[in-house]
């Protein structure tokens, strides 16, 4: 610890070099954080999926509808705590560019299935009394400046209304969430209003069911029981735990994770070279001094520590500042991309970032430090 002032003086010796090395590391860790946020967005909150929730959809594809009338049979399946259905409405607000998830569902039941969505009780009551009512996610409400009581017209791209006018909903409530990585862009509106006003040929059909099991350890058994029950019905079903269902959907986009890993590998390889090169130069310039220190009785191990300590300082200061700034600024906000509503810099990503920082400091300092440790005093003093 008492050698920290010595290390500090060494860093100040070439201020220009110190500043640019720090800058390089800082920017790289900003980039790391950005990539992690993009990765989390593409994983669509998979890691935060409810362990006790199942999704049931048509066996062929989610675009093939399932009858809403299956609900009672689903609820009657042993092990099912509660359930409801939802339909992807696919609306747009004031032009095609403004799209967000809009679901027709039994809203109170849906909110019970997703306790992470919090709605003030009086707003939920208002919805129950209002057939045209909708509960809107805080992110979407903020983006378009909607307030409770506003009337919002949405074009039904998949479900045109009877006379091709926009559908009109009334914002009865706004849901928010205390948890990270929760989709706050959804618009939920009443299924009875939807079913009454859509065209007759699609009536009574829904896209998927959300099912809550009483005991998460029995999820697989409950899923099998449901699928067996509907096995020879007009619409055969496929029931999957929510996490697996989201995971399958995520994999449809492609291997985003591998891409991110590949890019970050390049980035870290480059900064590793930059920092190692800085350290090598710094050691080369100080060969004489290091020899003097050794003459004074500094042990090899201590010399090693001095050099590694310096590179560690670069890595921790540059990387740490970047991670800190990103955590502070990212806690609120969104990528503002439809289909990627989840926006979070996860604790896991921060932890991995911290580990990378330490590794960078160690590896970049290792070779120059080893060289410094192995210096023979007589040679080093003579070297110019």
């Amino acid at each position: 610890m008492k050698f920290i002032p010595l290390m500090w003086r060494n860093l100040l010796r070439r201020k220009f070099r110190t500043v640019f090395t720090l800058g390089c590391i800082f920017i790289s860790f900003i980039l790391y954080s950005f990539m992690m946020i993009v990765g989390t967005a593409f994983s669509m909150g998979m890691d935060f999926a409810g362990a006790d929730r199942l999704w049931m959809m048509h066996k062929v594809s989610i675009i093939v509808p399932v009858p809403a009338s299956y609900l009672n049979e689903v609820l009657a399946t042993p092990g099912v705590a509660t359930a409801t259905y939802a339909t992807w409405f696919g609306g747009s607000y004031q032009g095609k560019q403004n799209q967000f998830p809009v679901f027709a569902t039994e809203v109170p039941a849906y909110l019970k299935l997703y306790p992470e969505f919090t709605v003030p009780p009086d707003q939920l009551k208002a919805l129950e009394a209002d057939r045209q009512g909708a509960i809107v996610g805080a992110d979407t409400a903020k983006k378009f400046g909607w307030k409770v009581g506003d009337r919002i017209p949405l074009m039904g791209d998949i479900y045109p209304s009877k006379n091709n006018d926009p559908w009109t909903f009334i914002v009865d409530g706004i849901y928010d969430s205390e948890k990270t990585a929760v989709d706050k862009t959804q618009v939920l509106f009443r299924y009875d209003y939807f079913d009454e006003n859509r065209r007759p040929e699609t009536k009574g059909q829904v896209n998927w069911y959300v099912i809550k099991v009483a005991d998460p350890s029995q999820s697989a058994a409950v899923a099998t029981a449901i699928d067996t029950h509907f096995a020879n019905s007009p619409a055969e079903t496929k029931t999957t735990p929510e996490k697996a269902a989201i995971g399958n959907f995520v994999k449809q986009t492609g291997n985003i994770g591998a891409m991110i890993t590949a890019i970050l590998t390049v980035v870290f390889f480059v900064i590793l070279l930059v920092v190692a090169n800085t350290m090598a130069q710094s050691v080369r310039e100080r060969t004489n001094e290091l020899a003097v220190l050794k003459t004074l009785g500094f042990s090899d191990a201590r010399i090693l520590m001095l050099v590694v300590g310096e590179s560690m300082f670069f890595a921790l200061l540059g990387g740490g500042t970047a991670l800190l700034i990103m955590s502070l600024t990212v806690s609120r906000g969104s990528l503002n991309m439809p289909m990627l509503p989840v926006f979070a810099f996860t604790a896991q990503a921060k932890l991995v970032g911290a580990v990378l920082m330490v590794l960078l400091g160690l590896v970049a300092g290792a070779l120059p430090a080893y060289g410094a440790m192995r210096l023979r005093i007589t040679d080093a003093l003579r070297r110019n």
């Binding site: 640019f20 994999k251 110019n384």
Partner: protein
């Protein structure tokens, strides 16, 4: 003249002595090369995706969907409506019949070979005219399907990316039960990601009655599109929208290419800043190690400008080397790499190949030169401002 030859001489001297500073120089080259690899390869994804979709569109073909729909998936037309659409003026005729096809489109879950997880694979219900309209569709293996039977053909890319639709297999999904009798190609377009069968068979399997999702037509000429479109939109029996096929497919690339470009440019910008910092360090070292040399040149009468330009030049030479290496690496590593992704706008899979175009490569090279110039600027100014007397005395 004298100034130019001076500058050239100093620059060459700098470049020739690069091997003496090989360590830091390689760091700068790799740093900038790394940025260019990432930049070019990320953008090549968007480029490939766009190429697959735009290859499907021709300027003398049009797509008719239900009014308000952007994609076949959200569209719906009754058989009666499609019959009226086929009467529209401007459609090319063959043997007294309009060259137009009513088509249906659904997605089925098939496992992706790369992950083994289900993916939304598009299945298109076609009519015989579908082949006349899309003359780029060629059977490359097996044979054409016979209409009126449960025979299907699979796109080259779909067969490669998804399991369960190989040539000769019986492909079952819900009520759909078809045999794959052929494999087709279509200039690498998005159609190659699809499975095609008789639209009547698909209607039956999905209990769609006599309904379709789109009508594709071949126009007399691109110029007759206006007539065609006006007739449809003013027809009180219809509520449809007509688009030139080329525009229809170009619009479907917007979300995905926007997303890829947005992410790609952000990464390239951040990485670029980091690489510039690396280049600054390298050039700073170059100046520091050559302090005495530069001072000597100045003392001999070489002017400030030529010293400044020579440092910039050296930095740009290193950057160009990095840019070229990065571009070459991206080309060798990723050009033609085949994969499939979900098109959010159509909710179905698109198989495509990464495309490292000459335009992308030149953009990468230009970017590397910009990085080299910015990185060389500060050290160059520093070199130019060295006080000769003290610099000569330096070690």
């Amino acid at each position: 003249m004298r100034w130019i030859s001076q500058t050239l001489a100093v620059t060459l001297l700098g470049v020739r002595t690069i091997p003496q500073r090989i360590g830091p120089s390689i760091v700068a080259i790799i740093g900038i090369g790394g940025v260019v690899v990432v930049f070019v390869s990320v953008l090549s994804i968007g480029e490939g995706f766009r190429a697959a979709l735009t290859a499907a569109g021709a300027p003398d073909r049009a797509v008719v969907l239900r009014g308000g729909s952007d994609s076949e998936m959200t569209s719906g037309l009754t058989g009666a409506e499609t019959d009226i659409i086929k009467q529209a003026p401007g459609i090319a005729q063959a043997g007294g019949r309009p060259i137009a096809a009513s088509e249906m489109m659904v997605v089925v879950d098939l496992n992706k070979r790369s992950t083994g997880t289900p993916a939304n694979v598009p299945v298109r219900g076609v009519e015989p005219e579908s082949f006349t309209i899309r003359d780029e569709v060629k059977i490359i293996d097996g044979r054409m399907p016979r209409f009126g039977t449960n025979e299907a053909i699979v796109g080259r890319a779909a067969m490669k990316q998804f399991s369960g639709v190989d040539l000769g297999t019986q492909f079952k999904s819900g009520q759909l039960d078809v045999t794959i009798v052929g494999v087709f190609s279509s200039n690498g377009s998005v159609n190659e990601s699809e499975v095609w069968c008789d639209s009547k068979v698909l209607q039956g399997a999905y209990r769609r009655g006599n309904s379709y999702q789109s009508v594709v037509v071949k126009l007399d000429s691109p110029a007759s599109f206006e007539t065609f479109k006006n007739w449809l939109t003013t027809n009180p029996q219809l509520n449809v929208s007509a688009r030139l096929e080329s525009e229809f497919y170009a619009a479907q690339t917007q979300v995905m290419t926007g997303l890829i470009n947005g992410i790609g440019y952000t990464i390239a910008l951040l990485m670029g800043i980091a690489a510039v910092f690396g280049a600054v360090l390298t050039m700073y070292t170059a100046v520091a190690t050559r302090t005495r040399e530069i001072a000597t040149l100045r003392a001999l009468g070489f002017n400030v400008g030529s010293v400044l330009v020579s440092i910039l030049g050296e930095s740009m030479v290193l950057a160009a080397l990095g840019g070229l290496a990065g571009g070459a690496l991206a080309y060798v590593g990723f050009n033609g790499y085949e994969t499939a992704t979900m098109n959010f706008q159509t909710f179905s899979q698109v198989a495509f190949a990464f495309k490292v175009t000459p335009e992308l490569l030149s953009r990468g090279l230009i970017y590397s030169l910009v990085m080299g110039m910015v990185g060389g600027l500060l050290p160059a100014v520093r070199a130019a401002r060295l006080p000769i007397a003290t610099a000569l005395r330096e070690l």
